[in-house]
């Protein structure tokens, strides 16, 4: 890794140089290193801690999404400092030889204006490839650099688990998503972490005899792990997802809060006929102490009226595993253990990078969740 003053041409030159050094001699048996770029990733990092994370994530991404990563460490400061460096990121074959390589440019800035940074970033993007902006941390939408860049991007990735004022920022994200209408597409890694939970929940109802129970759910309990400051956004998004899929609509008085427990009330569409067919669904969201540290811990979907049915997904004592259990009308529960691996930051990003357009399921869940969040007492 070599240091250089900020000169775009110098960075480009260095990138070219780097590739020439990587090339193997063109003998018949040797395989050349493949420079395979599938996208530009701009990682806007708020501080050094995040910058370190980005440096570990970018190489891990190369395996699935070889890319040009531009890491921008955007720190506040009185005087302006700017530094840039260039690096190749390679996946190695079992023999330890570089096989597929992407590129990483790091711009370390202090006290730089958004305009200055943008003028450095834009010429560094590889043409004709999608541009993804990853902006973790608190208040991503309020960052001048994000405000300046998002229109040029195909996707903006934030992480609601890192929001400082989670419920308010959730509503802001929803407003932004609606206003931009898919340009850029919006991703939230907090939502990505719900994927295995959504899969396991949905799988109950791939079983034909269980499907009717899905339309008569009366109670939901969502427990999430919380340490000092509970962040209920993931649980709200999960509730929003169920509500949007099942066409539940919030009641007038939809939200009740007791301590850290959030109680939501929605109306579910008629299953049968007659006025009694429209029924209430209650959703209880509560933080619990759990070794997982963050994310969902237990999920209960329950139909109580008439025939009792209960569907539970919960983490087991063994890290990375969950137990799913379906109990219908007092019959013996049908149980199994499934993997529910703790995804790394690189896994989460990778999964979002696979999407090419607006994630409509997420958008629908986000808008319902934000609609509920807006009714929270201030």
């Amino acid at each position: 890794m070599s240091e250089a003053a900020i000169d775009i041409n110098a960075i480009e030159r260095e990138l070219r140089q780097m590739w020439q050094e990587q090339e193997n001699p063109p003998d018949a048996g040797g395989q050349a290193v493949i420079r395979a770029l599938t996208l530009n990733l701009i990682a806007r990092m708020p501080d050094d801690h995040w910058a370190d994370l980005a440096m570990t994530v970018a190489p891990a991404l190369t395996a699935h999404h070889p890319n040009r990563t531009v890491i921008v460490i955007d720190r506040p400061g009185q005087t302006t400092e700017l530094q840039a460096s260039v690096q190749a990121l390679c996946t190695l074959t079992s023999g330890g030889r570089a096989q597929v390589c992407g590129e990483q440019v790091t711009i370390s800035a202090r006290g730089a204006s958004a305009g200055q940074l943008t003028s450095l970033i834009l010429p560094l993007l590889v043409p004709d490839l999608p541009v993804v902006l990853w902006a973790p941390g608190a208040q991503p939408l309020a960052q001048p650099l994000v405000q300046r860049l998002y229109r040029l991007c195909d996707r903006l990735i934030v992480d609601s688990a890192t929001f400082a004022d989670p419920v308010r920022e959730l509503t802001e994200l929803a407003t932004f998503e609606q206003a931009t209408n898919g340009a850029p597409a919006v991703s939230d890694l907090g939502w990505t972490r719900l994927t295995p939970w959504r899969e396991l929940t949905a799988q109950f109802f791939d079983t034909r005899p269980f499907l009717p129970h899905l339309h008569r759910i009366d109670e939901i309990v969502i427990e999430y792990a919380a340490a000092d400051r509970p962040n209920p956004v993931a649980a709200l998004l999960f509730a929003g997802w169920l509500a949007s899929c099942l066409k539940w609509t919030p009641l007038e008085e939809a939200v009740g809060i007791e301590g850290e427990t959030i109680q939501l009330y929605l109306r579910r569409p008629a299953v049968g006929v007659g006025p009694a067919a429209i029924r209430l669904v209650s959703v209880e969201i509560r933080p619990v102490a759990h070794s997982a540290g963050e994310g969902l811990v237990r999920l209960i979907l329950r139909a109580v009226d008439n025939q009792r049915a209960e569907f539970v997904v919960e983490l087991t004592g063994e890290a990375g595993h969950a137990c799913t259990r379906a109990t219908i009308a007092g019959a013996a529960p049908i149980e199994r253990t499934a993997t529910i691996e703790r995804a790394t930051l690189a896994d989460l990003l990778s999964s979002e990078l696979r999407l090419l357009s607006r994630d409509r399921t997420f958008a629908a869940a986000l808008h319902v969740a934000a609609g509920l969040a807006r009714r929270f007492p201030v």
Partner: protein, 506 residues
């Protein structure tokens, strides 16, 4: 199928596909190699990736006197050794193994099927499998008719859920036997319950042939007789007959490889675009290709049998010295053949197919060779020095696609062929799932696209059976005629050289 009638609203936008309904898979011949090497590792990996529902159960049906416990331990060991994800995750295995049972019985014992029916009914209530069943015939082919008849006689061919049957290759050994087997199977099951497996179709790269052809706009206009000179399909194995000598000696390369795997590859390369991607539309188009193939005569084929030689630097026996093989065997271990597809797209374009055992490299590929540039304007390079453009679809190993084209040598007035390479592993950086994972899941979901339909099997046999007959009636061949570790008999090189072409050096 009935599966389209119900719709899970939570499925929309989920990033993995639908999971099948809970079901019980009954594996006949579960003490065999296929079960421990492929089937159970595939099922375990599906469970590991959350692709199987809770309640999914396995019943092993075989003759040996084993207990459930012993069977589970055996399978656990098999998964440890054979799974692409490495040794089992103990907690996950415990939950998976909970659904595994062993059912002792011989295939012709009516009593064993009565008790199987009872056992399945019990699993249906205890594990919520609702009568959904897959019967997997992982037995020697001569047991198929017995098992099918017994299943029918004991009312196991239909249930209150769905019932499907998976039949391994070989499906018959000629047209008459394939028709007879089809008749027997279809007297008990309906065609949409029958899943004839050809594991080549489960390979990601094979499925990618259709994606490559029909999801890209630029290839279809050149995919015809106007641009293509010829097509070569090669499936080469380095192994000999291993411990299958007895079976192989009554079969041979034409039956074992060409009739199923190579004909499938041919169909995928040559078929017209289906109107939709569903089981019947795709298979309709494949059958049309098979039916458009001009009848073959013996002069369109070359056969070979390997003699002693070497593999990986070690001396190896000749075919006739292999265990279970007759010392005067006339069975072919190598086949090359040329065929024409008489339709508007392919008229006049030869397709060369070759497959053999004890060849120097294990490689499967399809090479599309395009016509050369019509005139040569670069004076220093004579036209016949130019390599034609070749699009190679590599199925294994090094899965990928490469395109060879001519390029100027830097600084010199010379033209050299270069290749543009797309490698699966490099571009996606993930290990592809095993073929059996995809196929087992598809069967449980009721999707027969990647399975062989009755008319496909019969059309393929109809084409090749006359060759088998002519070979059997013809004079004995001077076997062995190629050395183990070489690229087949010299006659095969002469065969293609007569057309002014040559086999690709692989």
């Amino acid at each position: 199928m009935a599966t389209s009638a119900f719709n899970n609203p939570l499925r929309a936008g989920l990033r993995i596909g639908r999971t099948p309904e809970p079901c019980t898979m009954v594996i006949f011949g579960s003490s065999g190699d296929l079960t421990s090497r492929k089937l159970v590792p595939a099922l375990y990996n599906l469970a590991r990736e959350r692709r199987l529902p809770g309640g999914f159960s396995v019943v092993g049906f075989a003759r040996r006197d084993w207990t459930d416990e012993y069977f589970r331990d055996l399978l656990r060991e098999a998964v440890n050794v054979n799974s692409r994800s490495g040794p089992v995750d103990p907690e996950l295995w415990a939950s998976f193994a909970h659904g595994i049972q062993y059912h002792r019985g011989s295939f012709d014992d009516a009593e064993a099927y009565t008790s199987l029916a009872e056992r399945l009914a019990k699993i249906d209530t205890e594990r919520g499998t609702g009568g959904n069943r897959v019967f997997y015939l992982a037995t020697p082919p001569d047991a198929y008719p017995t098992i099918v008849a017994q299943l029918g006689a004991h009312g196991l061919a239909h249930s209150r859920g769905w019932t499907r049957i998976i039949i391994e290759k070989p499906f018959g050994h000629d047209l008459a036997s394939a028709q007879a087997l089809n008749a027997e199977v279809l007297s008990v099951f309906d065609e949409d319950q029958v899943f004839r497996i050809d594991h080549y179709l489960g390979k990601e790269t094979v499925q990618n042939i259709l994606i490559f052809r029909f999801a890209n706009g630029i290839f279809e206009p050149i995919w015809n007789r106007n641009q293509i000179d010829h097509v070569q399909i090669t499936v080469a194995e380095t192994i000999g007959v291993e411990d299958r000598g007895g079976y192989y000696d009554s079969s041979g390369a034409l039956r074992d490889m060409i009739q199923n795997h190579l004909m499938q590859l041919l169909c995928l390369v040559a078929m017209e675009p289906p109107s939709v991607y569903d089981a019947d539309a795709v298979r309709d188009e494949k059958v049309k290709v098979l039916r458009a193939i001009r009848p073959l005569s013996v002069s369109d084929t070359v056969r070979g049998q390997y003699g002693p030689g070497s593999a990986n630097g070690l001396p190896v026996r000749g075919y006739r010295e292999e265990k279970g093989v007759s010392p005067t065997s006339q069975t072919e271990t190598y086949v090359a053949l040329k065929l024409f597809i008489d339709n508007w797209r392919w008229a006049g374009v030869p397709f060369y197919l070759r497959s053999g055992k004890r060849l120097p490299r294990r490689v499967s590929e399809i090479a599309i060779q395009f016509k050369s540039a019509p005139t040569m304007i670069f004076a220093d390079t004579p036209l016949n020095d130019l390599d034609p453009n070749v699009l190679a679809i590599k199925i294994q190993p090094d899965e990928g696609i490469s395109l060879k084209f001519s390029s100027k040598t830097p600084g010199q007035p010379q033209i050299r062929p270069v290749t543009m390479d797309f490698r699966y592993g490099a571009s996606f950086g993930v290990t592809s799932p095993e073929a059996y994972e995809r196929l087992l899941l598809d069967c449980m979901l009721g999707d027969g696209t990647l399975f062989t339909r009755r008319d496909e099997v019969e059309a393929s046999w109809a084409l090749l059976t006359p060759i088998l007959q002519a070979w059997a009636e013809g004079p004995p061949q001077p076997f062995p005629n190629y050395e183990a570790g070489s690229w087949g008999p010299a006659a095969a090189d002469e065969f293609i050289a007569r057309d002014g072409r040559y086999w690709r050096r692989l």
